[in-house]
């Protein structure tokens, strides 16, 4: 437990320091990510063509270890709904978990409320498709056929069943941004989407899309922690090889 607590405290200290710097305007530069660079253009294409944006948050829940991934997906949902609020056809968000579905509607309603467009929000915009990952993927495939989807954004704890969603979208010429925290789905995302989000890129939506100082500080904190871990791994390997530690 000491190592976990130490890591947590170190991460907290670095994050707070960088967040304070970012609030004073000292923001680190973020490497470009094509998926986030193109998001506004993809949403704009859907809006201008009279179609819908679909945001799939996957089968992940808010009550288990996937919660952070769910929250990252909800951050993306809020940003995309805000971009697409002018569309005649309102965006659709889907989930494969009941607790996440519950929060989808609240997230989307808050965006419309902030824009004074309460009347545009419909109770069928957030949808629970299925409670099983493969059934969820199958349900999304049929939704993309019937709901005039022009842009598909899939961000959640998908597995290899993500292939069903991306293949269905590709056949209809639907542009996609795809990301997952699971390795098998990341391989699918790389193969089937022009704009995949791999690894930790998935969690950086707010840093890239809203320029929030704390989000940018979070991205920088993660980079610093990664270098610390690299140093520990290399140092530990060298020390172990020399027989200085067990």
């Amino acid at each position: 437990m000491m190592f976990e607590l130490t890591l947590l405290l170190v991460a907290f200290a670095i994050f707070v320091f960088l967040a304070l710097l970012a609030r004073r305007g000292l923001k680190p530069a973020l490497r470009p990510l094509e998926a986030y660079n193109q998001l506004d253009a993809l949403v704009g294409q859907a809006v201008e063509s009279g179609g819908r944006v679909h945001i799939a948050l996957g089968p992940n829940s808010l009550t288990n270890e996937d919660a952070a991934t769910t929250l990252a997906g909800l951050a993306m949902l809020e940003l995309v709904t805000d971009s697409a609020h002018v569309s005649d056809l309102t965006p659709v968000a889907t989930s494969g978990d009941a607790t996440t579905w519950f929060v989808l509607g609240d997230t989307m309603l808050r965006v419309y409320r902030r824009r004074d467009l309460n009347e545009k929000f419909q109770t069928v915009m957030p949808r629970l498709v299925a409670l099983d990952p493969i059934t969820y993927a199958g349900g999304i495939s049929s939704l993309m056929t019937n709901e005039s989807i022009r842009t598909n954004i899939a961000m959640g704890s998908f597995g290899s069943e993500l292939m069903l969603i991306t293949e269905s979208a590709s056949r209809r010429g639907i542009l996609q941004i795809v990301g997952s925290d699971r390795l098998d789905a990341q391989a699918v995302a790389y193969a089937s989407s022009r704009y995949p989000l791999l690894g930790e890129e998935f969690y950086m939506a707010r840093a890239y899309l809203s320029d929030t100082p704390s989000a940018i500080a979070g991205a920088a904190t993660e980079d610093i922690l990664r270098w610390i871990l690299i140093a520990l791994i290399i140092g530990g390997t060298i020390l172990t090889s020399l027989g200085l530690v067990n």
Binding site: M1, E4, A11, F12, F15, S61, L62, T63, A68, L71, A72, A75, E78, A98, T99, W101, F102, D106, T107, R110, R113, R114, T123, V124, R127, L128, I134, G138, S142, T145, N146, S160, E161, M163, L164, E167, S170, D181, L183, Q186, V188, Y190, A191, S192, R194, L198, G199, E200, F202, Y203, T212, S214, A215, G218, A219, T221, E222, L225, R226, L229
Partner: protein
């Protein structure tokens, strides 16, 4: 107060659960268990509301005659049939619906599980098609390497003596470069989750805010 109270509840709850894992104090562990139980109960209620959402969303499409309404009608009927069968069988005692011979299990195994298996069986074909499409849309060395590895992995699993030399190479690819890359990605994901959790704990990431 409108903004402070939800944030205070979120941060307080998160700290109790976090310290309940890190510090083995009986009071913290009890508090963590109570909060976790509340979350499970809320999740169960959310499932009931979610089922209602499924029925309402699909029924509305049937009512308006939207494209593909017939499949929405099938969905509504399937939900109602399974609910009715499950409720009637459970009136005889809860374990009945979980027995292999119950109508609920027969319907689930015969229709849902079979459909899932059919969908999953198509994944390998879609993956190969996607790899070929990747080469056409993004013709670079990484796409070529991706396609080569996909085809190599599929071929190496064929149980023929002619293929046996490839299996050793396959095992090496899986255990060394693939594993190294996978671990790197997973470490990145873990650090991102840690930092995201810190942002929720400090109240800067507030999915519940107005």
């Amino acid at each position: 107060m409108k903004h402070i109270l939800p944030t205070a509840i979120a941060i307080g709850t998160a700290l109790v659960v976090l310290f309940g894992y890190l510090i083995p104090a009986p009071e913290l562990i009890t508090a963590r268990a109570v909060l976790t139980d509340w979350a499970v109960i809320a999740a169960a209620l959310a499932v009931l509301l979610g089922v209602a959402n499924v029925i309402i969303a699909n029924a509305r499409r049937v009512q308006t005659g939207a494209q593909g309404w017939f499949y929405n009608l099938l969905t509504v009927l399937a939900v109602l049939v399974m609910l009715t069968v499950g409720i009637l069988e459970s009136l005889g005692g809860a374990p009945a619906i979980y027995e292999q011979t119950s109508l609920t299990q027969v319907l689930f195994t015969g229709i849902v599980v079979a459909s899932q298996a059919a969908l999953a069986s198509m994944l390998v074909f879609f993956m190969v098609a996607a790899a070929v499409r990747l080469l056409r849309l993004r013709p670079n060395r990484w796409s070529v390497l991706f396609l080569i590895v996909v085809i190599f992995a599929l071929l190496s699993w064929i149980p023929l003596s002619l293929i046996r030399p490839l299996q050793g190479l396959r095992d090496w690819v899986l255990e060394v470069p693939a594993m190294a890359g996978a671990r790197g990605i997973l470490i990145g994901v873990a650090l991102a989750i840690l930092v995201f959790g810190l942002r929720v704990l400090t109240g800067v990431e507030r999915p519940y805010r107005d």
